[in-house]
């Protein structure tokens, strides 16, 4: 066969196969044009409104009256949040009296909502830090699994009463927490997680060290 004819035939056949496969592929996951993606490219500079950052319903680590507040917009199934966790924990441990951490939920991924609800249920059992650490540790196993099976197993290992948690996680109060948090995510213009605010100031550079430096300078300010 002539080479040119062969090249043309291969082109036509392969493109036809591709078109057929694309047509026949079951559309289980429609591409999700998420609302966050369409939001204007807004970089969270100074927080527009303090009340968008700290809410009374949010889980808090550290002393409630601490002069320095870190607000972390946090997605349980985000691997960067997982990678940041030890650093944030260390910052809190270094400043046991001066710094508190407020976690706000950001639900950007499949599985985020399930685990955020589970964490809220764990809060009712006074197991929040334990379950948080367990699910973050197991995150690679449930990442992007909408049912987050491995996260449930890890939480159970940390002592969570799963039956009670499954009942607690769909109460209206938990719905309200997630709803408010996602509204604030939009209001503040969060585009990625984790996003930190220290006493309302955004990080000028993303990374554990800039966060530590900002906390240090805010602690120094508070002491003066």
């Amino acid at each position: 066969m002539n080479r040119r004819t062969l090249v043309l035939i291969i082109c036509v056949v392969i493109l036809a196969v591709f078109a057929a496969a694309a047509f026949l592929y079951p559309r289980v996951i429609p591409p999700q044009p998420s609302q966050q993606a369409q939001a204007p490219a807004q970089v969270p500079a100074e927080a527009p409104n303090g009340s968008n950052l700290v809410r009374f319903h949010s889980p808090v680590f550290g002393p409630a009256q601490a002069p320095v507040t870190i607000v972390e917009f946090f997605d349980p199934s985000c691997e960067a949040c997982r990678a940041f966790y030890p650093y944030v924990k260390k910052i809190l441990a270094e400043n046991p009296n001066d710094v508190r951490l407020v976690l706000r939920y950001v639900l950007f991924h499949q599985g985020s909502e399930e685990v955020a609800r589970m964490l809220e249920a764990a809060r009712k059992q006074n197991l929040y830090p334990q379950v948080l650490e367990a699910v973050l540790d197991a995150q690679p196993d449930w990442h992007d699994d909408p049912r987050a099976a491995a996260a449930w197993a890890a939480a159970e290992g940390a002592g969570l009463e799963v039956g009670r948690a499954r009942a607690d996680m769909h109460t209206p109060s938990v719905d309200a927490v997630l709803e408010t948090d996602m509204q604030d995510v939009k209001a503040v213009g969060i585009r990625g997680t984790p996003t930190f605010f220290v006493n309302g100031h955004a990080l000028d550079k993303f990374g554990p060290e800039p966060l530590r430096d900002l906390v240090r300078s805010e602690v120094a300010k508070a002491r003066n």
Binding site: R3, V7, I10, I14, A22, A83, R191
Partner: protein, 144 residues
């Protein structure tokens, strides 16, 4: 050049082209049909695989073996990127923590595998390397 060696060369070129064509269409299928958004490193690899497909198509059509001069750099750079991505995926080179966004997936995250566990970066590395090797053979055989 004898007809038989020319036809052997052409088969090599044909295989290189088919590898590039299948890789490009697979990338499009995974991205556009299966709806898995490409990460940053995937985009860079696409930027080198797509033009390879186009120029190798023309080279096959015209039996132009001098194409290795143009295609080999593309395949080489693509292989370098795919190697870096594979190492990153395997966790052998560290990556500064990148924030997760609503749209862009991470370069080392889940969903980077196909056929029950073959990592996509490794497939890309294999494709780029195969094309580069075929082009190198063509280069040696066409050398005066």
């Amino acid at each position: 050049m004898s007809t038989s060696s020319s036809s052997g060369l052409w088969s090599l070129l044909l295989v290189a082209w088919l590898v590039a064509l299948l890789s490009s269409l697979s990338a499009l299928f995974i991205g556009e049909v299966m709806g898995q958004a490409p990460c940053v490193l995937c985009w860079f690899q696409r930027a080198f695989m797509f033009p390879l497909t186009v120029i190798l198509t023309i080279a096959c059509y015209r039996s132009d073996f001098a194409i290795w001069r143009y295609a080999l750099p593309l395949a080489g750079i693509g292989a370098g990127l795919a190697l870096a991505h594979t190492l990153l995926y395997a966790g052998l080179i560290p990556l500064p923590i990148q924030p997760c966004t609503a749209t862009g997936p991470s370069c080392s995250g889940a969903g980077m595998t196909i056929f029950g566990g073959v990592p996509l970066p490794m497939l890309a590395l294999f494709a780029f390397a195969l094309i580069a090797i075929l082009l190198l053979v063509i280069r040696r055989r066409t050398a005066p």
